[in-house]
């Protein structure tokens, strides 16, 4: 399938490069420091194991989202600015196939981050009761979120056609998504805070992690949040398809 060749090209261009690897090594170093401190630092080591697992899962998800946004911003705007998109459009590949290939590469990137995080999750969560279920939720919800934010960012990239502006808007989206974290506990309990929490897919994911890993609650408690996350996924893929179909040089 032609999307596979596009995906391979993207992986070679963005992932199997010194810059790509630097991201992964940096991720690994940060996770190393976090895990080591969690398990050995006087005060941090007394955090509940579930709490440690939860914090690492949040960090990995946030990183996956951020890298997805950056990836997406370059997807079409970057190729236009480098002058390489026209040759691609000259080939008998339809635009949705090109987008599919690029999403595939963004997913591969997330997959690598997830794989890098697994040893740390096992080491930090060892002996804890919600380790495996936490990893399952991270795999699924992290993937959904990676697709959602990458697709949205790619759609923006196709519409705006400027890498710089795409990136700025993508970072703004990232901050908006993380906004609930900046609210105080009291603010989050207000009607505004609750609504913001519920409609924000990133907040839905981290609240789900909290519910599963710390409070040991079952899938029944997560249904509403997971439904919202899936809704955003569908919406962002639709946005990407529409943006790319209309893309002209």
């Amino acid at each position: 399938m032609k999307a596979t060749y596009i995906m391979q090209k993207e992986i070679r261009e963005s992932i199997l490069t010194p810059k790509g690897f630097l991201w992964y090594i940096l991720t690994s170093v940060i996770l190393s420091v976090m895990s080591y401190l969690f398990l050995t630092n006087n005060e941090l080591s007394l955090l509940d194991q579930g709490q440690m697992l939860y914090m690492i899962m949040n960090f990995i998800t946030a990183l996956g989202v951020l890298m997805g946004l950056v990836f997406g911003a370059d997807a079409f705007a970057g190729e236009i600015e480098r002058g390489t998109l026209e040759a691609l459009f000259l080939s008998p590949v339809n635009k949705v196939e090109i987008a599919t290939g690029k999403i595939g590469a963004a997913l591969t990137n997330w997959g690598i981050i997830f794989a890098i995080s697994l040893p740390y999750l096992f080491v930090v969560g060892k002996g804890g009761q919600n380790l495996l279920i936490g990893i399952v939720y991270l795999a699924f919800l992290g993937t959904f979120l990676a697709i959602t934010f990458s697709a949205f960012s790619m759609g923006l990239s196709a519409r705006i056609k400027s890498m710089k502006n795409s990136l700025i808007i993508s970072f703004f989206i990232f901050l908006l998504a993380g906004a609930p974290i900046f609210l105080s506990a009291a603010q989050r309990r207000t009607w505004f805070g609750r609504i913001l929490d519920l409609i924000n897919p990133f907040a839905d994911v981290i609240n789900t992690f909290d519910s599963v890993v710390i409070d040991s609650q079952g899938f029944g408690y997560q249904v509403a949040r997971v439904a919202i996350i899936c809704g955003y996924l569908v919406l962002s893929v639709w946005f990407l398809k529409r943006s790319v179909s209309r893309l002209e040089m």
């Binding site: 398990l39 006087n42 005060e43 007394l46 890098i116 040893p119 740390y120």
Partner: protein, 176 residues
Amino acid sequence: MKRSILFLSMIFLATAANYASASAGRITVSINPPSVQANMGDKITYAGTVTNNSDRAIDNIIAYISLANITPGKEAPLDLEDWSANKAIKVDTIPPHGTYEGQWPMRLIDSGSYVAYITVVDKNDNMPVSSPMSRLEIKRLLRLNPNNVLPVAIGEPVALGMVFMLVAFRRRKRVK
């Protein structure tokens, strides 16, 4: 006139003193164990006994635990937020000459020398009542490699670096 004022003042002071000592005598508080030696991360439970020494029931009192750090150079009262979930207990009623047993579980978060004591507040009195202090010595645990974190913390970044170098080397070989 002066003598009357002096006499009335003495009666007032005697009453107040009696009242204070009577209320101090009305409630007594004890804490157990009287001293503890433990390690960081241990969970312990303090038991507090509130005794009503009077002939009347005591209603709606509050009993809470306090900790103070007495490690030389670090003397300070302690914020128990991370240590204990159950700091203040409201007691509905203690019958005449009755007792109330309260439990204060806590997790020992930091090493050092501490004193713990339980205080009871009765809104009908003008002085709180505290138990004697229980000494608490917490030893620090040094954990260098719990859960085998070091092989992962050091090994993974190194492994990724090696993979990168391998990929870069193979590419350089293929490309002129």
